[in-house]
């Protein structure tokens, strides 16, 4: 106990330098704690959100209702309303699922992995990114949940004792997927919520109406910022981050097992797990940039979410985009190197077969588009980076489409070959999921602390105690 306390005491000395290498400050402008709280809380406190918020809501809310409508119709009619037909029995639902799970990854990555690597620049974007994770997981989870058609049979997936005396089959990747995604959703939710507790307390203490006071009060759990509490809280945060890091890597690996463990040429490759994870980070960061650029402008948070943050994210996008490009190339190499005619056919069919257009959209959006971020001009211009990121998002959706559909459309029996065409409901459901995501995000921006207030404060220079030279004196008393 004494030694750890001493370790902490010496941390005072080390921790003074917040930005040892001369970099742009993390919070721009002349800000103190008071103004940071005010500027962030203002987003939720101002009587009315900006006009653009209403416009965005007016678009996303009807889309959300469309999604619910589509789901209701699906439940009543069955999965026949979609374009899924043999041989393409896995179509848009799984494409959308993988797409959204991928988007989710950036949030956890920013909050957990960058935290563990002590990348302090993450503090002003992690909250929004984590929120995005949760909302993306909600959208992702919707698809597997509804694609079974008879959603009231869903409990078959859970290991619950039942009247049939049957248990789920644990040797199947589809069941691993259920566990992975639901664990991921739970842990992300805990992480997000726990990170928010101190900020909810801020909102509670600033609340002007009784309803707000009670609502924020309940969720703030009676937080009072005691140092003993902070100490355990920070430990817990570190532990959750450490748990979330392997988790985030595992989730998309397990998702990729859905494909890789099945013995189909085009799916059955060992490169899938890392390649899926890289793709997930890639698409997730693109989504964060796409959302944060307008959000920071709209809610007046440019001093907290600075260009440096955006630029860093764009660098991650180039890096992961290049990895994804490498994986595409490697798949072809392995197909050729394997000497297996089925494997070779699957890839030639992918690039030149009936879905050649999807394949080349994917390659241009995912491999070529991010390369523009080598230019500082482009990666520091909000408008241009959003354009690139939107292309990336499109490309990543197509990646999943290509993997799923171009593998299934021409299977071993040429007489069974087919071509997939989406129905109206496929399209509406996908658009609806974007609506749900946007709606949740807009509500979050308006009612919850969009930036981690206490964390931003803790990376400001004022937050660090200065060494007073009386530490030798202090250290002698740790026995208390």
């Amino acid at each position: 106990m004494t030694s750890s306390a001493m370790g902490n005491a010496s941390a005072i000395v080390i921790d003074q330098d917040i930005d040892p290498r001369r970099r742009k400050s993390l919070v721009e402008g002349d800000h103190d704690f008071t103004s940071i709280t005010a500027s962030i809380a203002n987003v939720a406190e101002r009587p009315k959100p900006p006009k653009a918020w209403y416009v965005a809501m007016a678009i996303s809310l009807p889309l959300t209702l469309t999604l619910f409508g589509c789901i209701a119709y699906l439940v009543v009619k069955g999965v026949g309303i979609w374009g899924n037909r043999q041989p393409i029995s896995w179509a848009w639902p799984i494409v959308n699922f993988v797409f959204w799970v991928g988007i989710a990854h950036a949030g956890t990555l920013i909050s957990a992995i960058l935290f563990l690597f002590r990348q302090k620049w993450r503090t002003s974007i992690n909250r929004a990114a984590e929120a995005m994770t949760i909302f993306a997981v909600v959208c992702a989870g919707t698809f597997p949940a509804i694609h079974v058609g008879r959603i009231w049979m869903e409990w078959f997936l859970a290991p619950v004792p039942n009247h049939l005396e049957m248990w789920p089959q644990f040797r199947s990747p589809l069941l691993w997927d259920v566990f992975a995604v639901s664990t991921y959703a739970t842990v992300s939710l805990l992480f997000w919520y726990m990170g928010m507790v101190p900020d909810l307390a801020t909102f509670r203490d600033r609340a002007t109406t009784k309803i707000k006071k009670i609502a924020y009060g309940i969720f703030a759990l009676g937080w009072r910022g005691s140092s003993r509490q902070w100490h355990r809280y920070e430990r817990a945060y570190l532990l959750l981050a450490a748990l979330a890091m392997p988790l985030v890597l595992s989730v998309h690996s397990v998702v990729s097992f859905d494909f890789a463990v099945s013995i189909l040429p085009g799916w059955h490759t060992t490169i899938f797990p890392p390649y899926f994870v890289a793709g997930a980070i890639f698409s997730g960061f693109a989504m964060v940039v796409t959302l944060m650029v307008p959000a920071r402008a709209l809610f007046g948070l440019k001093h907290v979410v600075t260009l440096r943050h955006l630029e860093n994210m764009n660098k991650v996008i180039v890096a992961t985009g290049t990895m994804v490009g490498y994986a595409y190339a490697m798949e072809f190499f392995i197909a050729w190197y394997s000497g297996s005619q089925y494997e070779q056919f699957a890839f030639i069919n992918r690039a030149l077969g009936p879905y050649w257009w999807a394949y080349w959209i994917m390659v241009s959006c995912n491999v070529i588009a991010p390369q523009f971020f080598w230019f500082k001009k482009i990666r520091t211009s909000p408008l241009l980076m959003v354009i690139v990121c939107i292309f990336v998002n499109i490309g990543m959706w197509f990646e999943r489409f290509v993997i799923t559909v171009s593998t299934l459309n021409r299977d071993f029996l040429p007489s069974a070959w087919g071509y997939f065409s989406p129905t109206l409901f496929d399209i509406l459901t996908l658009c609806g999921s974007f609506g749900l995501f946007m709606t949740l995000f807009l509500l979050f921006c308006r009612y919850l602390p969009m930036v981690a207030i206490s964390e931003v404060k803790s990376v400001m220079p004022q937050a660090h105690p200065h060494h007073h030279g009386d530490d030798a004196h202090g250290a002698g008393h740790h026995a208390h």
Partner: protein
């Protein structure tokens, strides 16, 4: 205590217990300096309150590492154990289920679930452990009664010493704190903690609600264990309800309103002409026990016929009776002991069965016998006879005296 004399507040203030004194600071440095001072003065029940975690304040306050990580480790190990036991017990013990020849339980395919549950349990442990150690959620705390304390989540830093501290003295403690770099007067705080904060109706609600929530559950449980003549309520009909007349229902289209139509007098449906009584019923006369003792003449009892019977037997009967007919089929093995009401199939080598006329065995299969159902739907008449022939052969094979075997055959058997 003598709080009365020093508290300028309203009378209500006086009736409530003294929590302690609180000092306010503008910046981190003054707080850390004050914390050192309080620590050095030997106080034990006190705390600092800040808008964000201050690194190194643990040392200035003199407290050590939390036990949280150990707790999380235990949770993680529990998760791992649960995952292994769950997969092994459900898939290899309670419901062994062969799939593509994979082993019932093996470590590699168990890893993903083990990993996920370890992480899940650890995360729950972290979150709830942190809340538990921090005594959260807390409905109310006396410090919240201090108006200025609101800024603790904004930009101010506080140091509070509890009156429960053995070193506490209202005046002396106040003086000690006032000598640190405070930015406002050091004041006493009164309050009750979180007892009695909730209005009564909320408490009652919190008690009644869970009980009410149990009602549907209890209803489901009783429904599971009782029978009812009423038809099931179906939210989504799953093709159970179709536009057709079901068996034994009313049909107003016909004069007699019966849905099942009786056979027209003097006719026989196609393919149902069953003149050969021996062949179709196993009987040779009209009496209860006029069982045929011979196979119908129409059948040729050759090796192919018995082989066919053996194939059908292994498909249709062996599940219960076992391939040798002693009654050790898989269904029987699983059901024995599991269901007290299960009646094990009779060994086909029982004394009375050895002497049983073939017609009677035939009838047992066609019509069922006591708890054994009829297999008329699964078997053609000819196949049924083939099975009877095979059963007879099986019986002979098990009851064959060793002396009658030729020396080579005996060698084989041994």
């Amino acid at each position: 205590m003598n709080a009365k004399a020093h508290s300028p507040a309203a009378p209500a203030e006086r009736t409530r217990p003294l929590y302690g004194v609180i000092a306010e600071y503008k910046d981190v440095d003054s707080l850390v300096a004050a914390a050192r001072k309080v620590r050095d003065a030997g106080y034990t029940r006190w705390d600092t309150h800040t808008p964000f975690p201050i690194h190194g304040i643990e040392g200035a306050m003199g407290f050590g590492m939390t036990r949280l990580p150990w707790f999380v480790l235990c949770c993680g190990l529990t998760g791992l154990t649960v995952a292994v036991l769950l997969q092994w017990w459900t898939n290899a013990v309670d419901y062994p289920f062969l799939i593509s020849g994979k082993p019932l339980f093996a470590l590699p395919p168990a890893i993903p679930i083990c990993f996920e549950l370890t992480v899940l349990f650890s995360a729950f442990g972290t979150f709830f452990g942190m809340l538990g150690l921090n005594k959260l959620p807390m409905l109310h705390h006396p410090l919240f009664e201090h108006e200025a304390f609101k800024r603790v989540t904004d930009d101010r830093f506080f140091l509070a010493i509890e009156s429960q501290d053995p070193k506490f003295g209202l005046e002396s403690t106040k003086a000690l704190l006032a000598s640190t770099g405070v930015c406002a007067d050091v004041v006493a705080v009164h309050g009750n903690g979180d007892k009695g904060v909730l209005p009564n109706w909320m408490k009652n609600f919190a008690i009644v609600m869970p009980i009410l929530l149990l009602v549907p559950l209890a209803w489901i449980v009783t429904a599971r264990h009782s029978t009812s003549p009423k038809t099931r309520l179906q939210v989504i009909p799953d093709m159970d309800q179709q536009l057709k007349f079901r068996n034994q229902t009313r049909n107003v289209f016909f004069a007699d309103q019966r849905n099942e139509r009786p056979r027209v007098e003097g006719t026989i449906p196609r393919g149902l002409l069953r003149e050969d009584q021996h062949y179709y019923t196993g009987k040779t006369g009209p009496g209860e026990s006029d069982w045929a003792t011979k196979f119908p003449a129409a059948l040729s009892l050759d090796e192919a016929f018995v082989a066919r019977g053996r194939e059908r037997f292994n498909i249709t009967c062996a599940a219960c009776h076992g391939q040798t007919g002693v009654g050790d089929g898989l269904v029987s093995q699983r059901a024995t002991g599991k269901y007290p009401s299960w009646i094990p199939p009779i060994s086909l080598h029982a004394e009375n069965l050895l002497a049983q006329p073939v017609g009677q065995t035939f009838s047992s299969i066609r019509n069922g016998i006591r708890t054994m159902p009829s297999y008329a739907q699964q078997l053609t008449v000819e196949d049924t006879w083939a099975i009877v022939a095979y059963v007879k052969a099986l019986q002979k094979s098990q009851a064959f005296p060793v002396e009658k075997l030729s020396p080579e055959e005996r060698q084989k058997v041994q």
